[in-house]
Symmetry: C2
Subunit: 172 residues, 2 copies
DNA sequence: GGGTACATGTAATCAGTTACATGATTTA
DNA sequence: TAAATCATGTAACTGATTACATGTACCC
């Protein structure tokens, strides 16, 4: 079995949470990872099952009522997670921006920019709220640093689309 | 049939190129779109086939030798491409950065940052070369603007990882 | 004339997405 | 108590990735 980023997200959440149901993972993702790496919640039902089959997590199913499944890291699971975390990667992210794609393929930037500006400004505002709310608390370092990257990225996109809009050469 | 970004990439390339083989598309992607939106070349064989079935492109196959397939936009193809290009989107890109994910899930930033810095600096250098090479030429506006976004993003990532590395609070 | 890189494609698999579905809880 | 929303999941599909495969041209 090939472990994907989704796999490590599940393993990582379990390393924090002890024992989690898919629904609990879904909530955790929505509040954090989902901002920079999203996927449908159905993955959080399928992926732990695969991981269980491969021995990286164990499953406990409620005998009554909802019969929810609870997952927990096995030793092997801890081990692969640790290894993955310790290994740096030279892999670079891609922009994968639909508006950029449209522009590349000939769309009029003056039509794209205002809509993108609006959306990026909204998201920036949300990130700033979260940042404020997390200040002074004991939120995990990693989460805070990831949010910082999000803040930077949003500010940068706003500056970019502003320049595209008013015709300044956005490169150089 | 649902048209995906990959579909529009094919349609868009054909709108520039007139008539193209999958291999020609592959080369075009590698030199441009691939920098910010990549996918395996096998898609460039599968996708035009789907588009042909749906009537957005026409196929002409060589009778002899390599029997290559050549694709060309139909009127319907032109039409959907035009509509997609004219419609702005509020959809926002995600960072989807593996290193960020590792950091979020507990990795040591001091281990991640140097490797990422190296990779981002290399890529920035390449983008700067391309930017220079394209200066003063009649390269399409859209491509140039997309490259500008790439330059900005690389510079931003470099600043980010530098700050993560020397312990400056990277947000705020 | 043997290797190596480019050119060109196909097949199989699977992760990820979309769509659907139902029970429980809150709210108006 | 009706309606909405949250909680919790399953099933089917398919786009995307991985792996494989062969032909052609160039170069040492």
């Amino acid at each position: 079995m090939q472990l994907t980023p989704t796999s490590y997200i599940v393993l990582g959440l379990l390393s924090f949470g002890g024992e989690l149901t898919p629904y609990a993972m879904k909530q955790a993702v929505e509040l954090s990872i989902g901002y920079f790496w999203s996927f449908p919640h159905s993955q959080l039902y399928a992926e732990p099952e695969r991981l269980a089959k491969a021995g990286y997590v164990s499953e406990r199913r409620e005998a009554e009522g909802r019969r929810r499944r609870h997952y927990r890291l096995t030793d092997r699971g801890h081990e692969v997670l640790r290894q993955w975390r310790e290994e740096p990667t030279a892999e670079l992210p891609e922009l994968r921006d639909v508006s950029l794609l449209k522009m590349f393929l000939g769309a009029d930037p003056a039509i794209l920019a205002p809509v993108q500006l609006r959306a990026h400004r909204d998201r920036l505002a949300r990130y700033e709220e979260i940042w404020e709310a997390g200040s002074g608390t004991d939120a995990p370092e990693g989460a805070r640093r990831a949010l910082a990257a999000g803040l930077r990225a949003e500010r940068e996109w706003i500056a970019y689309w502003e320049e595209v809009l008013d015709g300044t050469d956005p490169g150089g």
